[in-house]
């Protein structure tokens, strides 16, 4: 076998992956591992048995290794953290704070917050903490956020600090199949978060002595960032782009730009990763070779420089991965082993996973290894199909043909290898990527070379740097322009649902058929490739046709997404049709947007790429905000709202109106007494706002909807309050519904008696509250929940249950568990 490490790495990975899905007491796999290794050594003379039991042993070892890495030491800080911390809002009033002493472990990132003020985030290596008066030793790492309102303190890597704040388990949004913040932190071995408000709770006690190289590297990093800031406007896309590709600082990267690069499948160039390391290694090796350095010295110096560079970029996982791979390939070359590429790749994977087994669940890890593996494995086959051979390298023309086809072949192989993974994480597949990468990567290379010269020049001679800066600006804009053009090309990209397990299996089976020799021998059995191909084709047919004849939905399905503090509800109608009510907070392209993070990915995941209608219940940011992104990215039939007068300070509303106009979407307004019967088997009654009257309070004016399907109904009461609830009560019996979305995130409803009459009228079997953990309004109110529960209603809150899926069928209602 030419790559002995490959099966080892694969079985180790499978073991780690298995540990995420199946939880069994750790000693069973441990014993299984020992037994199989004994079996392997016992049957050492029988090749097949010995090998197989060795791999089985490694598989269980992977399982044990990953499980064991999740067991926290006795003094780990996270062992002292309760499930749910007190709200941050109480910090100012002196809540149950904790003192933590520790060292800052990475380069602090500063970001602006929505309501003003700055947030500084870093990972703190905990040393000790003080809870009820006494200090005690502790270990572990804590993700720390410091909120600065009045004055800022500067903190750097290596600083020793004492912080006073609130500590809690990470709270993330919980939506099926979408990004999980807690899991993400867990994969970096972080199990708790510390929130600190203002500099009064921060005390710097030392600057630490360790991490000398890291400190210099971060100085270089800040110096480069400062130089970029000197020559480019912080608000220009160049600034964020250059910082991202040069020093791996994505904090100022325009989100819109990032979206554009996702569409063309070239987003990997925006994080300092494998492509970068390749490009930078090329630059250095070329430079050193041109001054006549011997090849081996050249490789060693380049490796050392790459390691330093990975420090400068903040030691992000992608660059560490790529540098490690380069180093392993380099070592393979230096010890004069005609190194097998797959073997080196497996060694790199094993090393990274031994360091942190949970790295396997990092999408970046999966994509880098998948792309390199498929480049190694698939390119020879594609080259053959292109009839590429060195024989054609005589004239310039045939040379050019050779290099172009070779690049296409590499690009195609990489794309084919990662396409399902990209579609899983980004809900997109971009055939244009094969072409776009051919143009984008050389341009990025050019921009990097120019930036390198620019950085050198700015230290020596200012005017020259300014000239180079404008050159970089031109290259960047050419790059952005071409990238946009690619994304606008026909069939450039498709939004896709996350592929099911069956698809993954069939896809990679088809790919491996491509590289298989004509016949495979398994011991004495001879297997023909053509037979395998027919089998795969047959399964593909079954997969596709089972989709075609799948029964149409025979139910009304409403999903209350977990969008933190805000509302967003997706309704799927029987047979066909989909509707979105509100989009959570957002609306500013460059800030965190719930629709970008949750609503749109959820819709794509569920195969919804067009919305028959979008309803904005009212124009507050936590309802309307996300709809901007939705209207921009989905084919929308019509937009429905209450047509209220809106204060001129509501900028999101202005964008919303402009978008409706620009896209030519039909705009309908509804009021009490309107009904929508256009959807299959469903009636939607509108109960609020009232006819005629303009109501100044946006909440009281919000659209209240009652959905009825067969015998069942859902009442969505948006953010109404006392006045509107009083009007609602006039409907009496008509309010009765099986499911109620409790008004105004479960908050106080003004008058208790009116609210109780309302809840009594509705008397829901299921009530849903769409609310964030630790929100600053103190929602939901205890009394509301107590009263609703006394009505024999099950209450679900998005902050606890995550997204809540309610299904109405002719036989009843049920809540889908995730």
């Amino acid at each position: 076998m030419t790559s002995p490490l490959l099966p080892l790495a694969v079985s180790f990975c499978l073991g780690i992956a298995f540990s995420r899905f199946v939880k069994i007491p750790i000693y069973y796999p441990f014993i299984a591992s020992i037994i199989s290794i004994l079996l392997s050594s016992f049957y050492i003379k029988k090749r097949l048995i010995s090998h197989i039991s060795l791999y089985v042993s490694i598989f269980f070892l992977g399982y044990v290794y990953c499980q064991a890495s999740g067991i926290l030491p006795r003094d780990h800080i996270s062992r002292f953290v309760s499930e749910r911390g007190p709200p941050l809002a109480r910090l100012a009033e002196g809540g149950e704070t904790i003192f933590v002493r520790g060292t800052i472990k990475d380069d602090p990132v500063i970001s602006r917050m929505f309501y003003g003020g700055d947030k500084m985030s870093f990972v703190l290596d905990v040393d000790a903490f003080k809870q009820n008066g006494a200090w005690r030793k502790a270990g572990g790492q804590v993700k720390t956020d410091i909120y600065f309102f009045k004055n800022k303190t500067t903190l750097n890597f290596g600083d020793e600090v004492i912080l006073e704040g609130l500590i809690a388990k990470p709270i993330g949004l919980k939506n099926p199949g979408l990004f999980d913040y807690a899991k993400y932190l867990e994969s970096q071995n972080i199990y708790s978060c510390l929130k600190v408000k203002d500099k009064f709770f921060v005390k710097k006690v030392g600057t630490g002595e360790s991490g000398y190289i890291k400190r210099i590297a971060y100085k270089v990093r800040h110096a480069i960032g400062g130089l970029i800031d000197d020559y480019f406007l912080a608000s220009s896309p160049d600034d964020g782009f250059l910082k991202a590709i040069l020093i791996g600082d994505r904090s100022n990267l325009k989100k819109k730009l990032n979206d554009d690069f996702i569409k063309t499948g070239t987003v990997h160039i925006l994080s300092v990763s494998g492509t970068h390391v390749g490009l930078i290694a090329c630059v250095f090796m070329f430079l050193f070779a041109s001054i006549g350095m011997p090849k081996k010295t050249n490789i060693i110096i380049t490796s050392v420089l790459l390691v330093f560079y990975s420090f400068v970029t903040g030691l992000n996982p992608p660059i560490v991965r790529a540098t490690m791979m380069f180093a392993i390939f380099a070592i393979g070359y230096l010890i004069n082993r005609e190194s097998d590429l797959l073997n080196s790749l497996s060694a790199a994977a094993l090393l990274i996973l031994l360091w942190n087994p949970k790295a396997l669940f990092d999408p970046g890890f999966q994509m880098s290894f998948a792309s390199i593996a498929s480049i190694i494995v698939l390119t020879p086959g594609i080259d053959r199909a292109f009839r590429l051979d060195a024989a054609g390298k005589y004239s310039i023309l045939s040379k050019a043909r050779f290099y172009i086809l070779k690049s296409v072949s590499v690009s195609l192989a990489a794309w084919a290898g990662v396409a399902p993974i990209v579609s899983f994480y980004f809900n997109i597949t971009s055939p244009i990527a094969v072409l776009a990468n051919l143009i984008v990567i050389p341009l990025v290379f050019l921009a990097m070379v120019a930036s390198l010269l620019f950085l050198l020049a700015s230290m020596i001679f200012g005017p020259c740097a300014a000239y180079l800066a404008s050159l970089i600006h031109m290259i960047d804009h050419l790059l952005f322009f071409l990238n946009r053009a690619f994304s606008a090309a026909p069939f450039a990209y498709f939004r896709t649902p996350s592929p099911p397990a069956i698809f993954w299996a069939l896809y990679y089976a088809s790919l491996s058929l491509f590289i298989l020799p004509r016949t495979v021998y398994l011991k004495a059995v001879k297997i023909h490739k053509r037979h395998l191909s027919i089998a795969v084709l047959l399964f593909l047919n079954i997969f596709v046709w089972s989709h075609c004849v799948a029964a149409k939905r025979d139910a009304l399905e409403a999903t209350f997404l977990d969008v933190g503090q805000g509302d967003s509800i997706v309704v799927k109608f029987p047979k066909e049709g989909a509707l979105l009510i509100d989009g959570g907070s957002g609306g500013d392209e460059e800030r965190f947007d719930m629709a970008r993070a949750v609503v749109a990915p959820y819709l794509w995941n569920n195969g919804i790429t067009k919305l028959d209608a979008v309803i904005a219940t009212h124009f507050h940011e936590d309802h309307l905000g996300g709809l901007i992104y939705i209207l921009d990215n989905f084919n929308t039939g019509c937009v429905i709202d209450n047509g209220a007068n809106v204060s001129s300070s509501n900028r999101i509303y202005k964008r919303y109106r402009r978008l409706i106009k620009d896209k030519g979407i039909s705009h309908l307004t509804v009021r009490e007494g309107d009904v929508i019967e256009s959807f299959p088997e469903t009636k939607i009654f509108i109960l609020n706002p009232p006819k005629g009257g303009g109501i100044p309070d946006s909440n009281e004016n919000s659209v209240v909807l009652k959905f009825t399907y067969k015998k069942h109904s859902i009442l969505l009461s948006a953010d109404i309050n006392k006045a509107a609830i009083e009007r609602m009560n006039a409907y009496g019996e008509f309010l009765k519904s099986d499911v109620l979305k409790v008004p105004h995130h479960g908050g106080h409803l003004g008058d208790e008696i009116t609210a109780k009459i309302f809840f009594n009228n509705v008397s829901p079997r299921i009530s849903i509250i769409s609310v964030a953990e630790n929100n600053r309004f103190g929602m939901p109110s205890e009394e509301n929940i107590k009263f609703i529960t006394s009505l024999n209603s099950r209450t679900y809150m998005t902050k606890d249950s995550g997204a809540i899926d309610i299904i109405l069928t002719s036989s009843g209602i049920r809540k889908n568990g995730h």
């Binding site: 309102f149 004509r518 053509r530 047919n541 596709v544 039939g637 001129s648 300070s649 100044p696 909440n699």
Partner: protein, 124 residues
Amino acid sequence: MFNLERYERIIVIFLISSLLLGLAVIAYQRSRPLIDVKIGHFTPDKASQDKDDPSPQQTTPLVNINTATAEDLMGLKGIGKTLSRRIVDYRSQNGPFRSSSEIKNVKGVGEALFNKIKDRIEAE
């Protein structure tokens, strides 16, 4: 590259064409036109029919004190240049208002002024 025999070729061709047909069917199913939404009317069966307001007065919307700029705030009666700046400063130092009554914490906004503007503001 596959060296297929005659019957195998037939099978492969059949399978590929049925696969393509299946994909075409899926594409067709996906490409349904958007539903044309029409708004109708129903007569609400209310316990007490409230009369339609004969003269729908045009009301000005509330000012959101968490998102309003200094100019927006100056539109409120009793709030001038200094006060509006103070409100914005307060917001950037202490974070957003949790309720509209929190505005009383701003120096210069007393109970009397708050009572005057409380029906015109909201804190969302």
